[in-house]
Symmetry: C2
Subunit: 431 residues, 2 copies
Amino acid sequence: MNVDIGNALASEASPGVSRASLERLDEQVAEAHERIERGMENAEHGYEALNLPERTDPDEIRAAVEPVADAEALVTVGIGGSSLGAATIVDALESDTETVFLDNVDPDWISRRLESLPLEKTAINVVSRSGTTAETLANFLVVREAFDSAGVDWTERTIVTTGDAGPLCDLADRHDLPSLKVPDGVPGRFSALSAVGMVAAAVCGHDLEALLEGAAAERETLAGSLFDCPAYAYGATAYALDQRGAGTNAVMPYAESLETFAEWFAQLWAESLGKDELGQTPVRALGVTDQHSQLQLYRAGPRDKLVTFLIAGTNEDRPIPETQVEDLAYLGDSTLGDLLKAEFEATEASLAAAGRPNVRLEIEQIDEYELGGLLYSMEAACVLAGELYGVNTFEQPAVEWAKKATRGLLGGGEFEEANAVAEKTELRVER
Amino acid sequence: MNVDIGNALASEASPGVSRASLERLDEQVAEAHERIERGMENAEHGYEALNLPERTDPDEIRAAVEPVADAEALVTVGIGGSSLGAATIVDALESDTETVFLDNVDPDWISRRLESLPLEKTAINVVSRSGTTAETLANFLVVREAFDSAGVDWTERTIVTTGDAGPLCDLADRHDLPSLKVPDGVPGRFSALSAVGMVAAAVCGHDLEALLEGAAAERETLAGSLFDCPAYAYGATAYALDQRGAGTNAVMPYAESLETFAEWFAQLWAESLGKDELGQTPVRALGVTDQHSQLQLYRAGPRDKLVTFLIAGTNEDRPIPETQVEDLAYLGDSTLGDLLKAEFEATEASLAAAGRPNVRLEIEQIDEYELGGLLYSMEAACVLAGELYGVNTFEQPAVEWAKKATRGLLGGGEFEEANAVAEKTELRVER
């Protein structure tokens, strides 16, 4: 991954960061880098995620999916960090395997998804570290029942990825299911390059070694200066812009297949940095589509945004057929890839011309190697930003409250949080 | 649609709006309502959108799609307001028709989408007011070529929705294609309830009258007080919260099929209000999925957000199968619908308990009538907010710059904007 932060400089944009400020910030980056390296060496909680390129064993993952080598479809049952990494990888890369991610509990939608799957040729990838995540376990029970109803033995089709103990772990033991471990010390949102993200990639036939090699190549760039390391350049710039008023970070890939990446990034950024009333709000956008939706706001709304472009060479191009219509003749000399590239350059320039800060992330093409590098770089950028903010990047305490309340509401025990639901203040305006 | 703004009151949240402030704001709402009514009566640009429930003719739309009554798939070629309204409607409602929206120019993606379609049973819905939108026309040329290559006569399968003149209008005349009009005075993002959004709904067999009737019922609620009108209650509260620091509006439907609604809302809000350095930034979220992604930030990050929940009765429920696992037994007494509802209530209460402002929008179920009402209400809320901000809600001047630059880059004429692209300031950090 390469980064260009030229359009985020104070000479170009407001808010912007001056070169002098970046150099001062670089001293903090050097200290943060030492902290990160130490955390990695000692396999500390969270920092351990940055060791995954060496720690993950692709052979083990391939062996686990061997029993479902005939799968034409894959249903992944997981939510949040147990789903988004896998979804990002398989949505980015082409494959003949149909993939479904059950990361919500909407009954209409689940029923429709299950009806559309050829169950006898479908593999199940169930992922939960604790083995007790309510949404995931409820969905897994529903999926099992659907397999039972169709007369397909779910124990022959299921791969479990979970922690060292808990209901899913017990279930895998009892039915002798292929089972992989959610790595210790790696929060879900940082686990794309472990079994959590890579089982789905393996079922779809993607090159696991290349994913890890791409990540390892970025690991080699981690260094004590943001000017030497693309990941740190991005993390430090995003942090500096937030400090100067860009509380929103709109991530805008120019490739449909990277739309899920923007969702993955949004979890990484929000859950890692959103604490102590700090943290930049990630917004998912998509080029060129959102030029016709969000660009007006980005260019002329409040000066509270950094726009992060992500561009990739297109793998396949397609000429635009010629037309006799005079006003459109110019399109006939171009390809769709040319149009996409021109739209990106024009949008980037239009923000720069309006003095709105933006950063460009570049990958050479969309393949396993580049994707592994991109995911790793963003994780390293996020860890660095967490050090600069001084927050605990690897915890997510604010989501516990609602989990307890949900459980209490469903009769799963006494939780005072559930009582608060009944005490809601209302001010209703009805039709 | 009903609205509950109780959790946005200053007594409950920070930022929040006090009842006294709401009553003062209500005087501005009364004036704004008069302005809106006058605009509607005089069919003024933009305000005319709120007249669509009476102006749109469902018979005309059904007649236009009659030639493709056998369609098993529909490809809509349009972008921004020419696509999102239609996508919102057909994604929300169930149908057997496969729908594809070509709202991007990514060549890999377009090729894959076209390969997956049964072209001889596919209808084409091409939408562009000017008939010159580069992305739409390029894609339409590509689609036509694909039909030609497959030996399918595209002129038998195409419905055009466009303005009174321009290349698409000429094309429809030349080939005698069924043709509908993008209504005058209605910006694209406000056109869901015209032919722009309803051709797709008609091809999918949805009840067009019910869509319009639901909208008309909300039109009847427009009144001189936010306490009498759900749409205004929402628009005024969102505005008041923004004034008090909630510059971000995270819209979080609790139904997968309403995910596209959040995208439609994001365009409506961003493009209408994002000007003069004002405007609230819309963020698309999805319950329950984003509880495991964004909730940490919403509950513990900066106090700069309003969370807008959208809930609907589920049309179909699904029991969670029983399990012997002790820690999960509580799930076995519930349905997925119960779980979804408990998750919503818990999340709403968890934000309230942390003093984070949120608003609840409720629709009875997801059907044509309720959806028409929801779309209309959000448009009316947006028009009201535009009056309160004092911006020109119905223009989008900031997107023109990039359009000219794109055209210049592709050799479609001399535009000084294109030159700015070459002058980009770089600060590159490479791997």
